[in-house]
Symmetry: C2
Subunit: 388 residues, 2 copies
């Protein structure tokens, strides 16, 4: 059994929305297909995945560095010992051959797209949903195939208004979501507080609403917002300052009692080690949002979870950034607290397929083999264009 | 005055050498030319630079993200207030538009190639060597246009032998170098100690020889080597563990009295802040090797120096990674301790032009406008192919 081809294409994200720092209308995604020499129903079994949302496609790194390395590796070195599955950690190691330590940026999401496609491929070889393959690999049994999700929205739109924000959250509620996240830091404090209050009117309770500053605040601004939102008892206060500023995070944690959330812009296990060593995060309270699709895939994400647990944190406080089918399967497989959901944004990658059940604040993947990306409208066509 | 075109090409590095972790024969470099609409002698004044050595060309990120952003920026926003120079920090900001915080990896060296080319362009507009332009911008006067350099070699070659290593260092000595650096960690401890002893026989004194583990060691191995090399009083012990493992560095610093050196794989000011906050480095002893060509260019490098100085460190303990003309000009301009030199490796980028004076452990740039890359044999042709 071997990999015969690795195909990649860059797909733009639909939408014209912004958070505190960036406009997403120029963001792109790498969609990757890893084709095997296993033929079923006359077609090569092919794993498909993408790197995660909010950054960029990585066609250059994939074409110039990683795909040639994986295809140059001796095929048997990329298989598990029994030869029945591809070994995602070995494929990742091949993709990263000759790369230096440090510098966990764009290459981490390029590698992730390949690594995640291996899980999709293995699941299709097993003819089972990816969460089963992932759970088995890590010695886990899935007792609840639902994941708790929250609807991430509340971006800054060009036609921003409080009514628009309320209507948006109300629409998510009608879809079956019960918890929500909105952006802050892209408007003056008073305006943001009015936005939060409008959102609370729909959410009904602070424990159903999180706010996300996307790394924009310095200590002074962080504490100014903290003082205003503390009485609202919000679900969490996300990525308040620079994601790598552990000392800033520690100072905020000393003064804000509510849960903090961070980690979506940490792309390696070593960065997560630094976070738990230096950032003052509090077990049983704070939230971790590392995202396999931005950080070398599930192989590295599982190591990040091990670091959390070694430092007294519980994986039920892990809610990966990136609201899409791949993270849904990862959250179900690894027993995480839940995951983000993008019901309205970042098409064609955000959100779930039509057959995924959403309700009561949970989403449940279907039994489609792999991540089920081929079931998702808008994405199926992109996959077909790429892989066949 | 405006930028009319930005051209880039990927150039492979010559050589078949390895450090403890990677083989450099597949490494590449992005060579970038930023062409202005200023015509002199019938030709457009054009800035040229490259990202630094030891990682990869960044054609994908340059073509898909950064070059279009810079060319789309309103031309006057990329100029200094008097309109006479390009503003490197504004060009960098344009190149990074819509990029999220964190993830300082490949994009940092893509951006660096453009940012550094702006300094070359400004220096050519001023008809002066780049170190003058850089020094003036940062309010400095160059009193000594020489930089203290050490010859970085002692890699693991396929035909490794102690005699080969000694001959290599002896050749550097005959070129005018007095201090040397060699790789460790790619062979068993006893073999590496024999290599260090052979090198010391040429260097004559531990204070003229550094050793570089390229981030390979865990604490146990780091301390095993430390115990063996401590009596040799080496110049420094470089990048002992993972470059982001600040806690490991702190533990090593507690037990090894000699100078430690690190930083070449930290690509942002925030990472350097974390280093000085958490890694136990000792002012007046330890060495910082951040490299502008890997970390967004001189704009960011100057901020890194400010962080060092704010934490009690002296810029004379900064020796940038990357032994080439660009870092030579930066070291002279900013009054650093010195810089690395690659006299024999990483062609056509490593080392200096024929007209640069080397002797007594110092290298002096010529008076050629800009970084003088056009004076360097092997590189001049690549630049001509790219830019004209």
């Amino acid at each position: 059994m071997r990999i015969t081809r690795i195909l990649e294409t860059t797909v733009p994200l639909a939408g014209n929305i912004a958070n505190a720092l960036v406009n997403f209308s120029e963001h792109t995604i790498s969609l990757v297909a890893v084709q095997s020499d296993v033929i079923r129903n006359g077609k090569a079994v092919t794993g498909v995945a993408f790197n995660s949302i909010g950054r960029f496609g990585q066609g250059g790194i994939l074409r110039e560095r990683m795909i040639p390395r994986v295809l140059a590796a001796a095929p048997q070195t990329l298989l598990t010992a029994d030869g029945k599955q591809f070994d995602a950690s070995q494929v990742l190691a091949a993709a990263l051959r000759n790369e230096k330590p440090g510098g966990h940026g764009d290459r981490a999401s390029a590698a992730a797209a390949i690594e995640l496609a291996i899980w999709d491929l293995n699941a299709k070889l097993n003819d089972e949903p990816a969460y089963q393959t992932i759970a088995r690999h890590y010695g886990r049994t899935v007792t609840d195939k639902r994941a708790a999700v929250y609807a991430a929205g509340g971006y800054y739109y060009p036609d921003a208004s409080l009514d628009r924000l309320k209507a948006e959250l109300k629409a998510y509620q009608e879809m079956g979501f019960e918890a929500f996240k909105m952006k802050i830091g892209g408007a003056p404090l008073a305006e943001d507080i009015a936005r939060i209050e409008a959102a609370l009117a729909i959410a009904g309770d602070g424990k159903r609403l999180s706010v996300d500053a996307n790394g924009r605040f310095d200590l002074e601004m962080a504490l100014a917002y903290a003082g205003e939102i503390a009485p609202m008892k919000l679900r969490w206060y996300e990525e308040v300052g620079d994601p790598l500023d552990y000392d800033l995070n520690r100072r905020i944690a000393e003064q804000y009692d509510g849960p903090l959330a961070t980690g979506e812009n940490l792309f390696s296990t070593q960065d997560v080690k630094n976070l738990v060593q230096f950032a003052g995060l509090r077990p049983g309270r704070d939230i971790f949002q590392m995202d396999a699709g931005l950080s070398y895939g599930i192989t590295e994400y599982a190591k990040m979870l091990a670091v959390l647990e070694a430092h007294g944190f519980d994986r039920r406080f892990a809610f990966p950034h990136g609201g899409h089918l791949i993270n849904l399967h990862i959250a179900v497989a690894l027993g995480l607290g839940g995951c983000e959901a993008y019901p309205g944004v970042f098409q064609p990658f955000g959100g779930y397929g039509e057959n995924c059940k959403i309700g009561g604040g949970y989403v449940e993947p279907t039994d489609a083999p792999g991540f089920g990306l081929e079931e998702k409208e808008g994405l199926a066509g992109k996959i077909a264009d790429l892989a066949f």
